[in-house]
């Protein structure tokens, strides 16, 4: 018997117990019935022997004298007796197979053929009992004073024996059914009780929408060492997962600060560059306050410089706002964000004297529905990574283009490509090995959260390229 594997253990075990009980019940019932059958056959044989002995003794002298009436009267009286095992009919058949007399003369008249009666009857020393039959015909030779006089065939009523067997069978069935039912229910209840701690563990692990929590020490069953060990192991596992998650979060934070630090360096450089010119312009205004043209030109110069500084600071603020988590997801991506990105990355590029290929091929409508903060973070991290792996004077680039229902961000560089140890950070959820940055894992997490995909490939110029496809119209996971 194969039980469906999907069936809970608390049902499977009682069902198995019930199955075994049924099997045991069948075997036990067979043994009981067979013992009962043997006992009944013994009893039948004993009773039949007594009956034959008594009738043979009574009939003997009358058979010898051919006294039909007395023979009939003896057989007739024997069939009128009450009792659980009584002759229903009896017939005496002579050596030539003719009926000498029968208690049912209508069915077996005197002188009729009685060979069939004898043939159908079983021998007294070979009584068998078929449970279905309510009568059995038994034969034996009537011997009087050492002389065989004929075959006496007695049809015995065995209804009571059959009924007894039916009652035994019924009792066995009823008893077995009751035992199976009781044991199954008890087994089910017992299994429910035994498995209760396991179910609790399962519930804890299946916390909908939440992270699994360690089970309180008070709830750990102290008496069951195995279960207590299981609970402790589970708690250990949960704590390990929580620790790892916390570590990853800290590493991600650090990475963000590192990138911010690098950006801040670039930013300082970006601010510092115009600052010298701006201060010079202030000096010029001070030197020539009475020359309106010089003042005007200087003011314009100052305005441009300050505007640039404003742009730089605004972009940084935007990034910061993102970092603060002030609902960055509500700010939708616009083409302006790519300009900001360009502004942010440019100092780093210039510092390394690298060549940046910047192609924004999408229009504003292609960006709708995507959160600005996440997309900027993805692009910035990939560009910083590209700048890092590309040597001084090397080439790298960004290409943004619509791709069906997605927006495709392609970042390529002239670097050597991702090593096997780095690829999983970008392409899988495997735990991050210590020793490397988390920028790429942050990219993966963000892309995943936006329902997008990441592929590695070759750019049109044959360089290594990371392609990020982000689905539009808010199909975020």
């Amino acid at each position: 018997m194969r039980l469906p594997l999907a069936m809970p253990l608390s049902l499977r075990v009682p069902l198995l117990v019930a199955g075994l009980m049924v099997l045991m019940g069948i075997v036990a019932s067979q043994l009981v019935l067979s013992a009962l059958n043997r006992a009944q056959v013994r009893q039948l044989t004993d009773l039949a022997e007594i009956e034959f002995r008594a009738l043979s003794t009574s009939l003997g002298p009358y058979v010898q004298r051919d006294d039909i009436w007395e023979m009939f009267d003896i057989l007739d009286r024997a069939t009128l007796r009450e009792g659980s095992f009584r002759p229903i009919s009896a017939a005496l058949v002579d050596a030539r197979g003719r009926v000498m007399v029968s208690s049912l003369p209508e069915a077996h008249p005197i002188g009729s053929n009685g060979a069939g009666l004898v043939e159908e009857a079983i021998r007294l020393d070979d009584i068998r009992f078929d449970a279905a039959s309510e009568r059995i015909a038994v034969r034996n030779t009537v011997v009087w004073q050492g002389r065989p006089l004929g075959q006496l065939v007695i049809d015995f009523d065995v209804q009571e024996f059959a009924a007894e067997r039916r009652r035994a069978l019924f009792s066995l069935l009823l008893g077995n059914a009751a035992a199976i039912l009781i044991l199954s229910v008890a087994g089910y209840a017992l299994m429910r009780r035994v498995l209760a701690p396991v179910r609790r563990l399962t519930r804890e692990m299946e916390q909908p929408g939440g992270t699994p929590q360690p089970i309180a020490e008070a709830l750990i069953p102290a008496r069951d060492a195995e279960l207590a060990q299981l609970y402790h192991n589970y708690n250990g596992l949960i704590l390990a997962v929580q620790a790892r998650t916390a570590t990853e979060r800290r590493l991600a934070e650090r990475e963000r600060y590192v990138s911010l630090g690098r950006l801040a360096g670039g930013l300082a450089h970006e601010i510092n560059n115009p600052l010298g010119g701006l201060l010079n312009t202030v000096d010029t205004i001070r030197t020539y306050p009475d020359r309106p043209d010089v003042v005007r030109d200087s003011a314009e110069l100052l305005e441009r410089g300050l505007k640039h500084l404003r742009d730089v600071s605004r972009t940084t603020l935007d990034m910061h706002r993102n970092d603060d988590g002030a609902s960055p997801e509500k700010v939708q991506l616009a083409l302006q964000d790519f300009d900001d990105l360009h502004l942010l990355i440019r100092p780093e590029i210039e510092r390394k004297a690298q060549i940046l290929d910047w192609r924004i091929e999408a229009d504003g409508s292609c960006c709708k529905g995507l959160p600005a903060g996440s997309v900027r973070q993805i692009a910035l991290n990939l560009l910083l990574n590209a700048a890092a792996v590309t040597g001084p004077g090397g080439k790298l680039g960004l290409r943004v283009k619509p791709d069906g229902d997605s927006l495709c961000l392609c970042v390529w560089d002239a670097g050597p490509g991702f090593s096997d140890s780095v690829k999983p950070r970008l392409l899988s959820d495997e735990p991050v090995e210590p020793g490397g940055g988390l920028g790429l894992r942050v990219v993966r997490d963000l892309v995943k959260s936006l329902g997008g995909t990441i592929d590695l490939g070759r750019s049109v110029h044959g360089q290594n390229e990371v392609r990020v496809r982000l689905p539009l119209r808010g199909r975020h996971v």
Binding site: D67, W69, P105, I110, G111
Partner: protein, 289 residues
């Protein structure tokens, strides 16, 4: 309900027990008691009936009575001839076999007459209308010495020009008229010869048994089975007392009860020609050649 006096074999066993008690009680009176022979051929014993008969005889005459039961007429006749018993209720046929040793002293009245007849009976569902149709039957007689249960049928066959031993395929004796009715009702025999008085009396006591049979032929009237005394008992005081008790049977309550149970009307002295018809049948059989 009337107490049946034609009872089963189990009744006979009970009757024997009763008889033993009566015999033991009367033992003290020793030879003063009258020894009375019975067979189940005619009178299927009922101890209540016998007790009442004893009570009546004792009440009306002071005579004690001892019943002696035998299976066949022949056995009872032998006891009469040996003087072992004083009187017996016999059939006319054995009486006539020993005219010098046995004498009929009283005849019962049945339906007002001292006469009865023999019936030939068969199964109720059998469509035969005459004697000849019974050829080849298994036939039940009551007693070899019974007039109605044997002699009449044999004589009738001879009158018809048949050979009695060949007319029926098989015959057997049941030693009781009631047993003949049982044998036919149970289909052990296809036909039987039975006393008409016993057969009609069964209509009151065992109608369901009778319902499975029907009468095919009725014989002429014959003298009713009489009370017979042996030559040793003839002229004795016991005989005189017995006769007085029988002729005065209506005088006591017990006697009237006996008559009611036997469905008889009384007893009368026999006439010289009472058994002539039986004698004629006997001659017919003996002259068969």
């Amino acid at each position: 309900m009337e107490t049946p006096w034609l009872v089963s074999r189990r009744g006979i066993l009970a009757a024997f027990t009763g008889l033993a008690a009566i015999s033991a009680a009367s033992g003290a009176k020793a030879r003063a008691a009258l020894r009375f022979g019975l067979t189940p051929v005619f009178l299927d014993n009922d101890w209540q009936l016998l007790e009442r008969l004893s009570a009546h005889i004792e009440e009306s005459t002071g005579l004690g009575i001892e019943y002696v039961q035998r299976r066949t007429y022949k056995e009872v006749v032998a006891l009469l001839l040996l003087g072992e018993i004083d009187a017996a209720w016999l059939c006319g046929y054995p009486l006539l076999q020993y005219p010098n040793r046995l004498e009929a002293v009283a005849i019962p009245l049945w339906q007002g007459r001292p006469l009865y007849r023999s019936y030939l009976i068969t199964a109720d569902d059998r469509t035969v209308e005459d004697f000849a149709a019974l050829r080849g039957d298994v036939h039940a007689y009551s007693d070899p010495d019974s007039n109605s249960g044997h002699l009449v049928t044999v004589a009738r066959l001879l009158e018809l020009g048949e050979r009695p031993e060949q007319f029926f395929a098989r015959t057997f004796f049941t030693f009781g008229h009631r047993n003949v009715v049982r044998a036919v009702a149970r289909r052990l025999a296809r036909s039987g010869s039975v006393d008409g008085y016993v057969y009609d009396a069964l209509a009151a006591t065992e109608p369901e048994l009778l319902a499975r049979t029907r009468v095919v032929w009725r014989s002429e009237w014959h003298g009713f089975p009489p009370v017979v005394v042996g030559s040793e008992a003839r002229g004795t005081r016991a005989e005189a007392l017995l006769l007085r008790a029988l002729f005065d049977i209506t005088q006591t309550e017990a006697g009237r009860e006996v008559l009611r149970m036997l469905q008889l009307d009384g007893f009368v002295p026999p006439q010289p020609d009472s058994f002539d018809s039986i004698a004629r049948l006997m001659r017919l059989v003996s002259e068969r050649g």
